[in-house]
């Protein structure tokens, strides 16, 4: 027990287009929400998950910036970058800070400010997650990379586009409850299928939105956490793995091998298996990523990632609810912040929000087109 690491505070800022707020405003807001939630007001270190502040707002050095303006004092503070997987990667660094005994209290903040630039520039910046010289140079956008994988998946497993379009519907179903979500409304399957095509076969409503947001969580040892609460949320399994940067170099284009590897590590560390999971937060940046994630983390056979979704098992009340606060699709996908939002949302669900009685949950955060994937398993510690 003394070795365990727990999450004792969560602060999830409203996701959206925040014209009036800067990156530092967003980060500070979520940090102080997390302080308020935890009952403490100082930490020993800060890890910032962020993909591309240098490109989006011409600001690097986020560790010092945020520690300074959030009033954290002269603590160690660094930025962790792994494209859209930055938040999950920062969380793992924060975990190690506590686990190693180096720090008592660690703050992990994911933040991204994407809407200061025009959409075509955003598209270009996001493409930096791919191989700039040999993928993006040739005009492939990030959406296009996912579209390439999706068409191949449909071809190899004889899956229809309409079947994959169920995932945005599931994520949106949970969004009205989610106070911090960008789009708090339900959508229909028809609206996904009939929305404008961005890169065929992907439509606009298959894709998570561009937005601003910041999320913070505070970590400490389970022993310390029990001074604040009787039901701490324990980090019981973590895994991070990488794959080839380019989609073209994968031996199996339709397998996220980093999801296979990262989830195996997390299952091994926790002593749990897929069937022990009550709820999931999966990285539904694009509908195809949901199906691949469910398969490659061991919840469905290859090619059958849409099966449970189509049977209704991923809604609340089903066998395996997913994306209980709207997922990337409806909550929004402020890229470097997303992984921390997922952890925070998992904590909310495990603490009990009146909708599910879940003891264990898993969050999966994908960087790029699957070149970095982190998996985190949390357990209610009562």
């Amino acid at each position: 027990m003394e070795d365990n690491v727990a999450v004792i505070g969560v602060g999830l800022g409203k996701v959206g287009e925040h014209w009036e707020k800067s990156l530092r405003d967003l980060a500070i807001e979520s940090i102080w929400m997390a302080f308020e939630d935890s009952g403490i007001d100082k930490v020993d270190a800060l890890y910032v998950g962020n993909m591309s502040s240098g490109q989006f707002i011409e600001q690097e050095h986020l560790g010092a910036l945020i520690a300074d303006f959030a009033g954290l004092g002269p603590i160690p503070a660094v930025k962790v970058e792994a494209a859209c997987g930055s938040g999950g990667a920062a969380f793992i660094e924060g975990y190690m800070g506590v686990k190693s005994g180096m720090y008592d209290y660690v703050l992990v903040t994911g933040v991204e400010k994407m809407t200061d630039v025009l959409p075509s520039k955003t598209t270009s910046i996001l493409a930096n997650a791919s191989d700039r010289d040999y993928e993006a140079f040739n005009g492939v956008s990030f959406v296009a990379l996912n579209a390439l994988v999706m068409r191949r998946y449909m071809h190899e497993f004889n899956v229809k586009r309409e079947e994959l379009s169920i995932f945005p519907v599931i994520s949106h179903k949970n969004a009205p409850f989610s106070k911090h979500a960008m789009y708090r409304k339900e959508i229909t399957l028809e609206s996904v299928v009939n929305s404008p095509i961005i890169a065929d076969p992907l439509t606009l409503m298959d894709c998570a939105p561009i937005c601003d947001g910041a999320a913070s969580v505070i970590l400490c040892s389970e022993k310390k956490a029990r001074e604040f609460t009787d039901t701490p949320i324990i980090v019981s399994g973590l895994g991070l793995a990488t794959d080839t940067l380019g989609v073209h170099d994968r031996s199996q284009m339709t397998t996220l091998s980093a999801a296979v590897d990262a989830s195996k590590k997390a299952y091994k560390m926790s002593g749990l298996s897929p069937k022990d999971m009550d709820i999931l937060e999966i990285h539904d940046a694009f509908s195809i990523m949901s199906a691949l994630s469910i398969e490659d983390m061991g919840f469905a056979k290859k090619g059958e990632g849409t099966k449970m979704a189509l049977e209704g098992q991923h809604y609340i009340g089903g066998d395996l609810p997913i994306n209980l606060y709207g997922g990337l699709k409806a909550r929004g996908h402020p890229v470097g912040a997303t992984g921390v939002y997922q952890i925070g949302e998992l904590v909310y669900s495990l603490r009990g929000d009146g909708r599910v009685d879940a003891e264990r949950g898993l969050a999966e955060n994908i960087g790029g087109s699957g070149a970095t994937i982190s998996v985190c398993i949390l357990e209610r510690g009562d």
Binding site: S120, F137, I197, T244, D249
Partner: protein
């Protein structure tokens, strides 16, 4: 695209120059100085013929800013006949003509022009194989 960054890749792009592992024979495009199969660092240049088939493709409606003057365009993953898979635009074909398995060949084309430095970047695209008839 800054000038040196494109300049140093010219040969690799114009001649489809990748690498071959001298120990296990593994071919790579783009070139790799560490073999992804056997980790050998013993490699040599290897020029690909430039023929292959489409594994998957998409038509882009919402391009990155440096490619917005090229709309509409298709990109594909092309499996070269020697084995490696390459990401490239498909040219000289209408979107509705493309299909998985279609045989394509490399051509040298302009990739982007209207970038910040004003340099014209050429590179490879692929097109459906053209059968020439000689009179």
């Amino acid at each position: 695209m800054d000038v040196p960054r494109h300049w140093r890749e010219q040969i690799k792009r114009y001649r489809l120059m990748g690498s071959k592992c001298r120990d296990c024979g593994k071919l790579s495009y783009p070139y790799r100085t560490v073999c992804p199969k056997c980790r050998s660092r013993n490699y040599e240049d290897y020029q690909f013929i430039g023929r292959g088939k489409i594994l998957t493709f998409t038509n882009i409606n919402s391009p990155p800013k440096e490619h917005k003057y090229n709309l509409p365009y298709a990109v594909a993953l092309v499996e070269l006949m020697e084995g490696p898979v390459i990401t490239a635009q498909i040219t000289d074909a209408r979107a509705e003509e493309l299909e998985i398995g279609m045989e394509v060949e490399m051509v040298t084309r302009k990739i982007m022009e209207y970038n910040d430095d004003g340099i014209i970047c050429y590179g490879y695209k692929f097109r459906p194989i053209v059968e020439y008839s000689h009179p």
